[in-house]
Amino acid sequence: MRVLNIVAIFLGLASAFLLYGLNYDTRMIEGRLQTREREAERARADIAVLRAERAHLARPERIEPIARGMGLEPLAARHLLPGPTVAASDITTSSTGP
């Protein structure tokens, strides 16, 4: 009976320590998790700002004059050769080519 009591007390104490340790670890991990989550949140907020800025910089009204300045223009009918000629010559060069 006495041995049993001692063992019980010992087990009780041990489990109390274990519980305390577990609790402490959990809190630590929770804290770290929160830090990480905050970092992720901040990164997400930064990404949102950067994406908005990129979209602002890439807006067509800004890009168009730059593109035109580089000599680019919308594709028009005059840029195209008559279809069949191009297709036929393409086929001959590719089939007879090395």
Binding site: A55, H56, R59, A76, A77, L80
Partner: protein, 554 residues
């Protein structure tokens, strides 16, 4: 525990009867149970996940009622609207030591602030929270921080930003100070439950809302309208491009535009959305419907119509601008835009057939889109002879350009109704063609006559031609309706176009408000001289963007 139990046992005056023993056992059981409960609670607290209950007091949740909204992107995924975190400034008046000083310093940073109101709110010690200014730039927040005034604090809030500025502003709509949608797509997002309360300024993780708009086409349209307004001295203009099969609005621009971020622009009547919110008498482009009506009631493009005499209805006389003095074919009525001919066609079809076609085309009742519930069309209360005639050439019926574009799409796409939408339609096949409005034959003949109106030397739309893209269309020049009549010399010039006419993929509708006569237009203000060439410029620019390849042979 043991000691306690043994004490109760010896207290029982040595009598070792059955009763105290059972009592002590019950007590032991009770104490054990209590310990188990405490232990269980400890374990629960230890393993419980953060945030799932318990007491977490957050100032944010009590002060912030903002919504986190999903991004809005165009059909190619380009960003049109997004949420960003911005600091908002508030004050705790109980912590403010010198309210006068604080108010003065703040007004120096934020010019235009009402100093007295600010001072009053800062001295109100009954409150612990007053907003000073919401949505500050990081730089501004730093400057406020540098003031070093105790009691001024920041909280991160979600703010909506529109990287494209005014482009697409009418469609996107607006949000209020709490990031709630008040108009346009923003409102649609809230109504469909795509936004959610923002806990602690957390950005929405939901999938973006994908619109049917193409940002590049939007810009081309906007740019060409701006040029047209300068060229023809028009104070306003609107245009849209719609997919004839799906009803998707690929681009819609109304000028002057409205910046979604500038609240005051929402109230400016000049900046009303002329595509989906304003209704206008569009004039002769409605002859598209009248000719469809004639073709549906058994006529062909060669059927003759009596246009020798002006049409009389009560005290009104309807005349043509350039009467030919002979009967015209149905095609000629379209090409010469004859009011008399159109009136005759409507009269021979009868009022029931006429209104039925308007109804089927969605021109008789409001057309609801994601952007707005759609204003009710202005239409005659009853259809008599004069109403039949005026409706035939587009007077007496005011609809939104969006509505008319959808009707035109149905007329040229083979004859099936389309529902205009600003959201991308995924899986076109799933939607399938809408209910039939006109026969495939009628639709084919309309395409033919629209194309002829652009290719014929006498066609009113010849200036809309673009080499290689087979443009077809119809001009409309309507006198502007004002209280009690019409204004001469002030017109709404419009052009409804489609390309490629042999197998249309898109309809375009260009509307110019009050264009002035120019040297380049020979002093004229008719749509053939302004809206038609504007359409040509637009199609030339947008067709390659939309993947419509020019045919070099034509």
């Amino acid at each position: 525990m043991r000691a306690h139990i043994s004490m109760t046992a010896t207290d029982a005056r040595g009598e070792r009867s059955a009763a105290p023993r059972s009592r002590s056992r019950a007590l032991a059981l009770g104490v054990a149970f209590a310990f188990a409960a405490v232990g269980g609670q400890l374990v629960r607290l230890a393993i419980q996940h953060e945030g799932s209950g318990g007491i977490r007091v957050s100032m944010m949740s009590s002060s912030s009622s903002t919504l986190a909204r999903p991004d809005i992107v165009d059909r190619n995924g380009r960003l049109l609207a997004t949420d960003v975190q911005m600091p908002s400034l508030y004050a705790d008046p109980t912590l403010i030591q010198d309210a006068d000083e604080a108010a003065e310093r703040l007004t120096r940073l934020f010019p235009g602030t009402d100093v007295r109101a600010l001072r009053r709110s800062l001295t109100d010690k009954t409150k612990r929270f007053v907003w000073i200014r919401r949505g500050l730039s990081p730089g501004m927040a730093q400057r406020v921080h540098n003031l070093g005034v105790p009691g001024l604090m920041f909280v991160d809030e979600i703010r909506r930003t529109y990287p494209g500025g005014r482009l697409g502003g009418h469609i996107l709509g607006r949000v209020d100070i709490d990031n709630r949608g008040t108009s346009g797509i923003e409102r649609h997002i809230d109504e469909t439950g795509a936004s959610e309360p923002a806990h602690g300024a957390r950005l929405s993780a939901r999938a973006p809302v994908r619109l049917s708009l193409d940002l590049s086409v939007m810009h081309a349209l906007d740019d060409e309208l701006k040029r047209a307004m300068d060229r023809y001295e028009a104070p306003g203009a609107a245009a849209l491009v719609m997919d004839v099969r799906t009803g998707e609005v690929v681009a819609a621009v109304s000028r002057p535009g409205a910046d979604p971020a500038a609240a005051e622009e929402a109230l400016d009547p000049q900046r009303i959305d002329k595509v989906a919110a304003g209704t206008y008498e569009l004039g002769s482009i409605v002859k598209l419907v009248t000719v469809a009506l004639a073709l549906e009631t058994g006529k062909t493009l060669d059927s003759l119509v009596d246009t020798t005499e002006p049409l009389k209805a009560g005290r009104f006389t309807i005349e043509d601008l350039h009467p030919l003095g002979r009967p015209m074919s149905v095609a000629e009525v379209f090409l010469h835009s004859s009011n008399v001919g159109a009136g005759q066609l409507a009269l021979s079809a009868g009022p029931e057939a006429q209104t039925a076609l308007f109804e089927k085309l969605g021109l008789w009742s409001p057309v609801k889109t994601e952007v707005s519930p759609g204003p009710a069309p202005l239409k005659p209360a009853q259809i008599g002879r004069i109403e039949q005639i005026t409706l035939a050439f587009g007077h007496g019926l005011a609809v939104t350009p969006l509505q008319f574009a959808a009707a035109s799409a149905a007329l040229v796409n083979g004859g099936t109704a389309v529902v205009p939408t600003f959201l991308v339609r995924d899986g076109e096949a799933g939607a399938g063609p809408g209910p039939r409005v006109v026969s495939a034959r009628t639709s084919a003949l309309l395409r033919e006559v629209m194309r002829r109106n652009v290719t014929d030397a006498s066609g009113t739309g010849r200036r809309a031609d673009v080499a290689g893209f087979e443009v077809g269309g119809k001009t409309g020049t309507a006198e502007m309706a004002v209280q009690g009549g019409y204004r001469k010399k002030a017109v709404i010039a419009s052009f409804v176009g489609t390309f490629p006419a042999s197998d249309p993929r898109y309809v375009t509708l260009v509307v110019l408000f009050e264009p002035k006569g120019q040297e380049s237009t020979g002093g004229e203000i008719t749509a053939g001289r302004n809206a038609a060439p504007t359409t040509a410029r637009i199609i030339e620019r947008i067709a390659p963007l939309l993947g419509v390849v020019a045919k070099a042979s034509s």
